[in-house]
Subunit: 341 residues, 2 copies
């Protein structure tokens, strides 16, 4: 049973296709109330739905946007995507998801695909938009937005939190609670998104507080996972057993720290305090629950999507630095009063 088209409707209702089209688009002109009713009725009973592809072709508007993620598995991407989709819906856009696996070839391939599919804009999430992609991005000639990532290209709005500042604040939070022997478990230092800036924030906070700040106070791993946190904390404890507070570059790492501390008979927060980063659901599930820096990923996704849609409509827009805040739970202990928050 072939799908019915506007032609079928027109024939069935004894009007021209132009009339049907005008009625469907509610132009308000070009038909009488009577014919409108009649046509609507035939449409209803035929179960006709317009073909969005044909529409796109002539209107030159696909009504779609593309989202590139390194990988959609993982809480962070999931929440972002949720927000992205929600905002897109509001603006009447559909969302194509793409998993680049951080592979430049795959990324380029997806960009081409999105180009061919005539997407009206692209959200580039959690990755680095390098010069490599400049050519295709330029060719596509549609708005791009980076979400929690970085762009080597000019004039691409960004939605992100200020990682440096957030980590600075996290570190400072520990200091304000009386801690003076701090260490950090971090991701890879060459990760310009979540590595470098967070490490930098940690160092600056220490320096500004006139506390010692040696590079050995930072133990980094190749990623931000649970196991990475465990290992990093283990090595910190070897080299700096005097430490009383840890800033972790992700909640997962913080959970790893807690788990390892547990294994070593170190109590959290009595012996060592831990502050996390991300405020994922996980932060509520650890024992003790995690004090952490909140990044509202769903909101970030929403804002990114919103921003993109506004760009698409030709409004001019600007980058958004999301606010962060510290969510206080149970993993940080006040050591001695010292200008408490």
């Amino acid at each position: 049973m072939k799908k019915s088209t506007i032609k079928d409707v027109a024939r069935e209702a004894n009007v021209s296709i132009a009339t049907v089209s005008r009625i469907l688009n509610n132009t308000g002109k070009g038909y009488s109330d009577k014919t409108k009713q009649h046509v609507m009725q035939t449409i209803e009973q035929m179960g006709y739905f317009p073909n969005a592809i044909a529409r796109s072709l002539i209107n030159n508007e696909s009504g779609t946007i593309g989202v590139l993620f390194p990988a959609v598995s993982g809480m962070v991407s999931a929440e972002m995507l949720h927000g992205i989709e929600a905002a897109a819906q509001v603006y009447g856009k559909s969302v194509f998801v793409c998993n680049t696996l951080s592979d430049p070839d795959k990324t380029k391939h997806y960009l081409q695909l999105l180009y061919e599919k005539q997407v009206e804009g692209v959200i580039f999430a959690s990755g680095r938009l390098t010069r490599n992609f400049q050519k295709i991005v330029k060719q596509m000639n549609v708005p791009f937005v980076t979400l929690s990532g970085i762009s080597d290209l000019k004039n691409i709005p960004e939605i992100k939190v200020d990682d440096l500042k957030a980590t600075y604040d996290a570190t400072n939070y520990l200091i304000k609670h009386g801690h003076t022997k701090l260490a950090m478990v971090s991701g890879p230092p060459h990760d310009l998104i979540a590595g470098t800036p967070r490490m930098e924030g940690f160092k600056q906070a220490l320096t500004d507080a006139n506390l010692p700040c040696k590079s050995s106070q930072i133990s980094w791993s190749s990623a931000f996972y649970f196991e990475d946190g465990k290992h990093a904390f283990r090595s910190i404890m070897k080299s700096h057993p005097e430490v009383t507070a840890i800033v972790a570059a992700s909640d997962e790492m913080a959970a790893g720290v807690i788990s390892e501390a547990n294994a070593q008979g170190i109590r959290v927060p009595e012996d060592v305090s831990v502050i996390g980063y991300d405020n994922t659901k996980l932060a509520t599930m650890t024992v003790p629950s995690l004090t952490t820096v909140s990044q509202e990923f769903d909101v970030m996704g929403y804002r990114a999507s919103e921003l993109l849609c506004q760009c698409i409509m030709g409004e001019d827009t600007d980058s958004i630095i999301m606010e962060h805040k510290i969510i206080e739970r149970e993993s940080v202990k006040k050591t001695k009063a010292r200008g408490v928050v």
Copy 2:
């Protein structure tokens, strides 16, 4: 700068659009090697990319599939989506994501949207495809697949694990490890996907082992989250303090159980053993780490997507019951030998 079309390429290369088209589609006929090279070169230098929308229109193949989730946030959906996208890519399809928020109106709206966008198939994930949707599904006339959900409609292949059997096995695992006083923390009993069958599996295992099985041994909540697990365990401990083992309907709930146990000074697994469900990443992060029933969501997503693409190509296919297995970690204690696994 307008996008260049096949016409522009044709003009530039001094050939007809038909020739360009044939070359692009690699038909192998209708052009000489020389012209092919020449045309490819002009294409390259013009930065031309074919318009997939125009192609779709004439070929009547959109190259897209749609995925409906109650919400893409959350580990489970995220992993599924990852698998879905991966398989779709292999089959050359792009993926539209939709968040229904379990709202029937929204769901219907999305189905219509997907219909208009001419998707070639739909994956209905983690939800119930009710009679409500029968009409539109029929009209769409494209393959549907349910993923970890249920369908009231006939002839819709399903990809799921046998929840009843999996919970039966989980319960049995505890029994085999010498536990005789069991309880369950469950989701809502009217949830036909993850509620009813899991409770049923628990009961059957007890019955088959000739153990007492009163409904008070199951404490259920309205959802499957951490807090739900906490509360449920609390109420179990009130009514059945003798219990030595808990089967939880999700890892999050199990984490809640562990957390609550901790708060009450009950040791896991020494005093009470816990088995989870899902084998999410969370299962490795609890202290102690969770023994749990593995559902490989990414694989499930992949298989669902694969199945759908096969349906699209007209192959006939059948539902897939995924295997489950029990991942042994630290949250279950062997009480006394009794025909151990």
